[in-house]
């Protein structure tokens, strides 16, 4: 404490080599930062999730979760797995709850075929960019529309954002 409060000693506090020390600290810190980022990306690649596993898990919500397209009986509350409620499917607002945009790495597009007179109906997540890409999965689903049930084919496309 005596040393710190010594005003005489503090006179020459900033030495002539201080700019070099600051420069060294900046370069050193920058190098460490790059090293950590490089090692972090290396670690991330080495622990990568097997191909398509994450996409497969994520796409399940669209036809299984009542917060997405899955049909939920209003009276019993029962949710029907592998089903599509057409009212939800054609409501773009549902995506902001079902698949919020923050932090996600994927975008999805859906095409519902075999809807009789309605032809093909499509929906997509808000971050979908229209470009050609391979189909990820085709699935037979039950479509609920105006208290009627129809069978249809749901095609799901996935993009890495």
């Amino acid at each position: 404490m005596k040393l710190i409060s010594n005003k005489r000693a503090a006179e020459n506090w900033i030495p002539a080599d201080m700019p070099y020390i600051v420069l060294f600290a900046i370069i050193f810190g920058f190098s460490i930062g790059i090293l950590v980022i490089f090692m972090g990306s290396f670690a991330s690649r080495n622990t990568a999730i097997p191909k398509n596993v994450e996409e497969f898990i994520l796409m399940g919500r669209f036809y299984n979760s009542p917060n997405c397209f899955a049909y939920q009986d209003k009276n019993s509350g029962r949710v029907y797995s592998k089903s599509i409620d057409l009212e939800k499917f054609t409501n773009p607002g549902i995506m902001y709850r079902c698949f919020p945009l923050s932090n996600n790495k994927y975008s999805f597009k859906f095409e519902l075929d075999g809807m009789g007179g309605l032809g093909s109906i499509s929906a997509s997540t808000p971050n979908w960019v229209e470009r050609s890409g391979p189909i990820f999965e085709g699935k037979d689903v039950i479509v609920y529309s105006d208290n009627k049930i129809k069978m249809a084919k749901l095609s799901i496309y996935v993009q890495n954002v």
């Binding site: 040393l3 710190i4 010594n6 005489r8 000693a9 503090a10 006179e11 020459n12 506090w13 030495p15 050193f28 460490i32 950590v36 090692m39 972090g40 670690a43 991330s44 080495n46 622990t47 999730i49 596993v53 994450e54 898990i57 994520l58 399940g60 919500r61 299984n64 979760s65 009542p66 917060n67 997405c68 899955a70 949710v79 029907y80 797995s81 709850r97 079902c98 698949f99 919020p100 923050s102 932090n103 996600n104 790495k105």
Partner: protein, 138 residues
């Protein structure tokens, strides 16, 4: 002329800063060398995938993650699973903390902090997911 007291203060500051930097580098080196970072990343990714799968599941559910994570803290906040060493108690203090994001389907956000979990219980009831350290017995 540089005064004696000034030299002592400079020496103390430089030694302290050097010790902190050296300690940090040794810790980072040990974490990568021993595979601790890889372990944390794998845990964060596995838990994020479990949460994604639970969100995709239409019914109430109960899932156990049966890995002994003693020495680690698992934190879930802002749609991210964060894993860091328990000795730091704050992810910002751990230079090798990791995180991985998951995507919720509800506005009910998960906020959990599990210290030294031996077994994590994921419980989904009425669209609300709760994470518990199973030894809590709450």
């Amino acid at each position: 002329m540089i005064k004696k007291g000034s030299i002592v203060i400079r020496a103390i500051i430089f030694v302290t800063i050097s010790a902190v930097i050296l300690g940090g580098l040794i810790y980072i080196g040990k974490s990568y060398g021993s595979g601790e970072v890889y372990r944390k990343l794998i845990i964060a990714k596995e838990i994020a995938l479990i949460l994604d799968a639970i969100y995709a599941y239409p019914y109430d559910s109960l899932v156990y993650y049966e890995k002994d994570l003693t020495g680690l803290i698992v934190e879930v906040s802002n749609n991210k699973v964060i894993v860091y060493n328990a000795q730091f108690n704050n992810r910002n203090l751990d230079p090798t903390s990791v995180d991985y994001s998951f995507i919720p389907t509800t506005i009910n956000k998960i906020n959990a902090k599990l210290e030294n979990p031996k077994k994590i219980k994921f419980q989904k009831f009425n669209d609300i997911i709760i994470l518990k350290n199973e030894i809590d017995k709450q």
